[in-house]
């Protein structure tokens, strides 16, 4: 059985390593350090950890102040509050100034589960990719999360890193390359391409098996960097497979689907189908129940693929 690890867990682990390597790495949180896993960094480097209390606007503006003074800042809270409540601060004090802040936000999407709709954000990717100069990263498993967070810290400039609460299958190996800005072809196929991000990549892998049984050979691409997006791999998929399904644990408005569609329509128009949250709020439940009810499972990807065949 595949091992399951939450991407937030990977965040906590890579922060410990990065804290040792980068003496100017500062970590900040808003009273959720146990959940976001920044508490692990806080234990090791208390002089470089700042709990800002339940005050997200100040958290992100102070993160900008620290970053503009030469620090690398990883500033964390739940994705809902980071990108929602603090949006305009991120836009004006981090984006507009190009401050070197990594907004590492956890508990994104519907897999927050039981906490319900007030804590389930489907708008975060959309909000962050609209900010000029913002790099937007949505790792698909724990290995990718570690590799991409390291690259986010190594690059100069603002980044949004979307992390999840629930344990998700690990399918990358330590030896695999996961490079910022480069999509990963996870499976080759010629009949259509499933372009997925975050936890939907492992759902796409399951979907490809089901489709295989139906005689459909699906290619899978993991777009872990939604901005800047890997146009080349998308255009190649459009021209070689002629059909594209996108899959994301995010609203179908403004997220991966829209980003891919823009590349496809401009360069090589092909029929597309979109799997994601369909412009509705969520509710309380177990992550798997919610993914099923709101249409973000492997069988939803299969159904979407079949509409294109």
């Amino acid at each position: 059985m595949t091992e399951k690890i939450a991407t937030r867990q990977a965040y906590g682990e890579i922060l410990r390593e990065l804290g040792e390597e980068y003496g100017n790495l500062i970590v900040m949180d808003a009273d959720l350090s146990g959940s976001t896993k920044t508490a692990e960094f806080a234990k090791l480097y208390p002089e470089r950890f700042f709990n800002m209390g339940i005050a997200e606007q100040n958290l992100y503006a102070q993160a900008a102040g620290l970053a503009l003074s030469g620090k690398i800042v990883c500033a964390s809270t739940f994705a809902m509050f980071a990108t929602g409540r603090a949006y305009e601060i991120i836009r004006n004090s981090i984006g507009y100034t190009s401050a070197n802040v990594k907004i590492c936000a956890t508990h994104a999407g519907i897999t927050v589960g039981e906490d319900g709709a007030s804590h389930q954000t489907f708008e975060d990717i959309s909000l962050m990719r609209n900010i000029p100069g913002m790099t937007v990263i949505n790792p698909s498993d724990a290995v990718a999360a570690k590799k991409l967070i390291r690259q986010a810290v190594e690059m100069d400039g603002p980044c949004y890193v979307r992390l999840g609460r629930a344990a998700v299958p690990v399918f990358y190996g330590e030896e695999d390359d996961v490079v910022l800005g480069k999509g990963n072809q996870v499976r080759d196929g010629g009949d259509l391409t499933i372009i997925a991000t975050g936890i939907m990549v492992s759902a796409a892998v399951e979907a490809a098996e089901e489709l295989k049984n139906k005689g459909i050979d699906a290619r899978i691409i993991d777009i872990h960097t939604i901005k800047p997006i890997d146009e080349e791999i998308i255009i190649k998929a459009a021209s070689e497979t002629g059909k594209i399904v996108t899959a994301e644990e995010h609203s179908i408005i403004g997220g991966l689907g829209d980003a891919v569609a823009q590349v496809v329509v401009k360069n090589h128009p092909v029929p597309m189908a979109f799997v994601g949250q369909k412009d509705v709020f969520g509710e309380s439940g177990k992550p798997d129940q919610l993914l099923e009810k709101y249409g973000m499972t492997s069988s939803d990807i299969v159904k979407a693929a079949e509409t294109l065949i």
Binding site: F50, S69, I89, T97
Partner: protein, 270 residues
Amino acid sequence: MDKRELQEKAREVRKLIIRSLNAAGSGHPGGSLSAADMVTALYFDEMNIDPAEPDMKGRDKFILSKGHAGPAQYAALALRGYFPQEDLMTLRKMGSKFQGHPNMHYVPGIEMSTGSLGQGFSVACGMAQAEKIDGSDARIYTLLGDGELQEGMIWEAAMSAAHYGLDNLVALIDHNGLQIDGKNDDVMKVNPVGDKFAAFGWNVINIDGHDFDQICDAFEKARNCKGKPTAIVAETIKGKGVSFMEGQAGWHGKAPDDEQTRQALEELDR
């Protein structure tokens, strides 16, 4: 610099504010003029800065949280030698470095791009925290409007600055009592300003924001206060120095025309 020289500099700052706003045809004279004396004291007396090396390590920093008073900061920077005064006649025009609200990437000496109220104060707290981490003795100054205090994040930042004992941080409150829609007390009461900061754990100093002895003395007291950030609550007059602008909310965001400019410059030269 002695009081007389500072007064002369402030007069020049005010004249440049008026001239640049007249050239721009839009902008914010009222709050620029009320802040002019404090901004002059910071750039000409208080801060450890070097116009020849704007990014000098260990320098003091000033964040204009009320970014709409940019003309006051631009004028002080120009007179301090960061760039030629005449450059300011491009204020607010297409292609100008001098944006309607300051941009740190375009203008030497601007430490933070501001304009959206409330944020500069928090950013200044972050910068003060960074200096503490580095064991530097550089000081961070920020200037806030009184209307700006209505932003909720101001109080998040006030709480955190006291919590972390940022005694290298000084917040100047330009308490002119007016905002776009009228008096603070009518729009949304922010008074008593000093008591609020004191309740949040700040060292509070009340001054006349147009008296250089009091301004400079407050900076000295702030330096000697350990363990707490300092709020200098400065009573000021919106539009200070130009008779027809003084105390008028209507001059918050309106540029003087040529005749008003001539009259204002004449008054300032008296």
